[in-house]
Symmetry: C2
Subunit: 673 residues, 2 copies
């Protein structure tokens, strides 16, 4: 309704811009462009509002067959179709130009700016309208691939860079900030395997299969795809985005380990896919105009991948630690507004630094988020904890729904779609196969060394949770110069829409069909999870395994309660092989560094550095320990206090000066996890 | 420090982009541009971080001679100078072009896109680097005024539109959302007079004086300014932005009425100046190339002003009321995240709708904020109240500090500055005179009909609080095509910097010098203000007036406690003349409509519509009254409950199902205001 009114106003605006005089006409044109921009934003704002209201109705009526992201996509599709077939077209005027005769220019790159004297030699029969005699600047925009294609449309499209610089960072940061680290660390092996090995495997399988499919297709199509193109497609379609599934899990209180695996994998495989696609593009850029395969270039791409991923990780982690130090050693917490601002600025700086250094900002901001949650969060005032959590929750909600709305709208309005039925069908089939290759063989391998193994119904659910989402779309829309890339964008959009709407809608039924128990554990990120409920459903459902072992650990007392490396160690002693022993040793090492060096250094956690560092470093240790750290609890609480990462998800943050009674509750297992 | 490192990386980036092949070179160029964008953002992020940390140090050490905005400006100036004189220059390459011989084009406006075949007829001696043979698109950018001026700089500058569409809306919305409405309404007459009449008067006086000054200056300068130019300057330099002063007031707990007057005036005069400058530009656009004065055009401009202002106000207020209805009649409050998202989206939609309709979005978003605070806020869940307040507080903080940092940086990096000593000196003198004309004569007139009058020291403080800020700068940077406009930008920037740093720094001393009492009342927006402290300092300091009258009202009991129209009515009966009687009648009417129709309709406030509407409308009234409204309090609380706007500034929101004990406290005068 509102959109129709707005469209009328918009048409009126176009008709009313026939003013006299070029300057006034130019002004009017600038105003019109500004209004079209505002109108585009308004359309999305209204769509989001509509989505919010419908989500409310669905939640109110307990509708589960369509999730909010599905809704956003569907509303987007409807409005996209209306804009496409209902609105008027703004044709862009253009002319061909040649350089002035005596031009001095000596670069292989086209110039940044053209200076054009209007009207120059053009004959204009404009009646009594005065024609200006001025020079205008034109700035470089890009290559024109198809000279016939005249229509560059202004309708409801955005610069794809906006996705990478504005929309994705808060989503990814929020994912890192909310990661339930205990379960994440406990399933770290599986998560890393699925995310790292699995995504790469899936990308190669999809790339190879697509290349095969493309060769079987009509020759015109086959010619336009190189192997690298299909590999790029494999990389961009591999990351999963199981928002919908996770929301349902959260609602139905599905097993925490399954939740952690799906969430952890989807967070990391976004980062992996982004770096992987960058490496493929670099490979392409450096070596191949023939789409062939060179071993050195391939190794270079692998080096790229590892280097960029780890450097980005380091940048993000360092910024997180720097924020922790700032909040620990200053009293900025006395002014929560300043503290929150500092937190937001430092987190965004992590993204920007990585981008400036030609690394991947998204990876940096993810690991920055994880570090902020692990260290900085403990130093924040309770006001800032609330504020940052709520802020990123809201930003994440808006950004996510915006991106899904945009996927819907752009299906009709983005000018660079290329519908190719063969490619689309092949894309659907191979992306499903790629997901299968990601899950089943790797689960089999993991189960060889993993106690308890991942049961079959969990594997099916992992397979089923392979929805595609924001990252795939953002990667696909980034580059649409060639026909091959445009076909990829169309296919990706369709896969995203189909998986989000259909698979997302069927998730509840899938859970029931696969007999995955629900409703017993609590796994909502925002809900309290008391210790006594921690006894994992995962094990309860896996009847082939003796379940007593971990339960004993949980009920055994404080020493063995929570450290993930302790769990691994326990597993290893009980029945681990060499691989898990190796892993456990690494995890133990990391755990020791974390609890003895990093946590005491970066947060107010006990024990202080003065106790954990060797004696000869004690002057330094005293310097780095705050009085707050010395005085914060009585002596018998020292060891348990360092588990403060367990407190991250509580709804009411624990006061910083810990109430002894409360701490004892935590130690005894009645606190919040 | 970090900036130096980043600058090194940046230089490395430039040197490393000498790749072979045009496509790769273009890709590298795009990457470089992306990195320069990121670098610019990073510079501002680091500057803001630095500002936050320094503010903390200043607050910690209780430094009062420099405020955060002053700090932001100074840091901006320093970094701007470093960028200007320390960095390397990115020269933009450019060539002149002519249209192709057989071009068909028949508009008086230059085309949107030029298509340029590269290398065309240019002789390039590029050695072995392959030269492409492709067509590129160039999009329209703007007029080139000075052909010699080759340097379009990429350094740390932003599109001015960003200020109007991204930075200003949250600042203005926050101002509206935080307006202490009780004191605002109580001083409405003075605020409206200063903001409406005063700003227009100030604009005309400054415009006229500047025109006179310009005529006395060297002929070259005089020729480039028309009267409309100087009038535009008057309009853009008239709005005040006393952030610094208000922060100090808030800290020192200065009289609430003085606070309300300064805050209210500065909020409204931003809106007035924006619409006024728009009207002047429209006038300019329509009628004058000679800068002359035509009576019909002048009346048209006044019509423009009134029409645009009131329509924008209506758009904003309607969106606010619509949000109130949505939050009242749905149960969206059960999902605070959805509710907060709805709130944010509707508020931004108000801005966008106004912009799409060629109204002033800033005015719409201001009045939307006021309505959201007055109505919607009462319907929100306590989680959403906190979240929206904290969100906008943070956004406002970041946006404000960003804008002041940008003012500092752009002083050196913005390419379109024009330093003209005469104009700058004249600008400083006339803007001071304009502020004086705004305050003293109008205070004199107001005091004729106002009981109690505005004392002389308050008038001096109002005059002293005339700092210039974000709105002046944003208006000045919006249009820099001509030399006159560039001189205005430079002068405005300097006035903003000088007033913020010097006047802001001296505010504490000014308060002491003017003997304005501090520390007794509480006027911090976020602090609780118990009823018993409400007895205004304003009256206590004004010894010429009998102070008993209003105090009696405060201690009199519930019937006369809070309604602003009741206060006015009381004033009028006691000693008002015809003007204030007129005003009081209007205020009374509005108060009746508000408490009998709007509040019961839009919020859960008592009394419900079923009691306030005439009997024949009772079916409609029943439809529009929620069960919550019927059941929310016992009968003797009815009348006081409708004062729920008093609760807006409490730190802990009152639970929506009002605890009887708490409500009684409110009624007895011990609750939070």
């Amino acid at each position: 309704m509102r959109i129709i009114i707005v469209t009328c106003l918009f048409l009126k605006a176009i008709s009313s811009c026939q003013a006299s005089g070029t300057d006034i006409a130019l002004d009017a044109k600038a105003t019109l462009l500004h209004r079209i921009d505002s109108l585009n934003l308004l359309i999305y704002t209204c769509l989001l509002t509509l989505t919010v209201l419908t989500i409310w109705v669905f939640k109110h009526r307990r509708v589960s067959w369509l999730h909010e992201t599905g809704l956003a996509v569907i509303y987007g599709l409807i409005v996209g179709a209306i804009i496409r077939y209902g609105g008027s077209t703004n044709q862009i005027t253009h002319i061909d130009v040649h350089p002035a005769p005596d031009t001095k220019y000596n670069l292989s790159v086209p110039p940044d700016v053209l200076r054009f004297h209007f009207p120059d030699k053009i004959q204009i029969s404009s009646g009594d309208i005065p024609i200006p005699n001025k020079t205008y600047a034109y700035s470089f925009r890009g290559e024109i691939v198809n000279i016939e294609q005249n229509e560059i449309d202004l309708k409801a499209t955005f610069d794809p860079e906006i996705f990478f610089n504005i929309i994705l960072p808060p989503i990814i940061f929020h994912a890192g900030y909310c990661l339930k680290r205990k379960y994440f660390f406990r399933n770290l092996g599986a998560i890393l395997t699925f995310a790292m090995v699995g995504t790469a495997l899936s990308a190669f399988v999809i790339g190879a299969l697509m290349y095969g499919c493309v060769q079987l297709m009509p020759a015109s199509l086959a010619a336009s795809f190189t192997f690298l193109d299909t590999l790029y497609f494999g990389a961009l379609i591999s990351p999963t985005d199981p928002l919908t599934v996770l929301a349902i899990f959260s609602q139905l209180k599905v097993d925490v380990n399954l939740y952690a695996m799906i969430f952890g994998e989807s967070v990391l495989n976004d980062a992996v896919a982004l770096v992987l696609s960058g490496a493929i593009q670099n490979y392409e850029k450096r070596y191949s105009n023939d789409g062939g395969f060179e071993i050195t270039a391939f190794l270079g791409a692998i080096g790229d991948f590892i280097g960029i991923f780890s450097l980005s990780l380091i940048v993000g982690a360092l910024m997180g630690c720097l924020t922790a130090l700032m909040t620990k050693f200053t009293h900025v917490r006395e002014w929560p507004l300043l503290e929150s601002a500092l937190f937001v600025l430092m987190s965004y700086a992590a993204f920007l630094i990585a981008e400036v250094c030609e690394l991947t900002g998204v990876v940096a901001v993810l690991f920055c988020g994880i570090c902020q949650a692990h260290y900085t969060y403990n130093n924040l005032s309770s006001d800032s904890r609330n504020r940052t959590k709520q802020l990123f929750e809201l930003l994440n909600f808006l950004a996510e729904n915006f991106i899904f709305t945009y996927i819907g709208v752009s299906m009709f309005t983005f000018p660079k779609h290329h519908f190719d039925p063969w490619f689309i069908v092949a894309g659907f089939i191979t992306s499903t196969l790629g997901r299968a290759v990601n899950i089943y063989p790797l689960s089999f391998l993991l189960n060889l060394g993993r106690k308890p193994p991942i049961p079959m119904n969990f594997q099916h659910m992992l397979f089923f949770s392979g929805l595609r989402g924001a990252m795939s779309f953002a990667l696909a829309i980034r580059n649409t110069v060639s026909e091959a890339r445009q076909a990829m964008l169309t296919t990706t959009s369709l896969i995203v829409i189909a998986t989000v709407v259909l698979q997302g809608g069927a998730a509840t039924h899938a859970l029931a069909y696969l007999r995955i128990p629900t409703g017993q554990g609590q796994n909502d990120e925002n809900e309290a999870l008391p210790y006594r409920d921690v006894r994992s459903l995962y094990q309860a459902t896996d009847s082939s395994q003796p379940t007593g072992r971990m339960v004993v650990k949980w009920e055994n007392g404080e020493k063995q309660v929570t450290m993930p490396w302790q769990l691994d160690y326990f597993d290893e002693r009980a029945g681990g092989d060499h691989v898990s022993g190796e892993k456990a040793r690494l995890a133990r090492l990391w755990g020791a560094v974390d609890s003895r060096l990093l946590k005491p250094l970066l947060t107010h956690a006990r024990p202080p550095l003065t106790e954990t560092l060797p004696a000869f470093m004690s002057p330094l240790a005293r310097l780095l320990t705050t009085t707050h750290q010395y005085t914060q609890g009585d002596s018998n609480l020292r060891r348990t206090d360092s588990d403060s990462d367990l407190c991250i998800d509580e709804p009411q943050p624990v006061p910083t000066s810990i109430d002894p009674q409360l701490s004892i509750n935590v130690r005894n297992g009645y606190g919040h996890v």
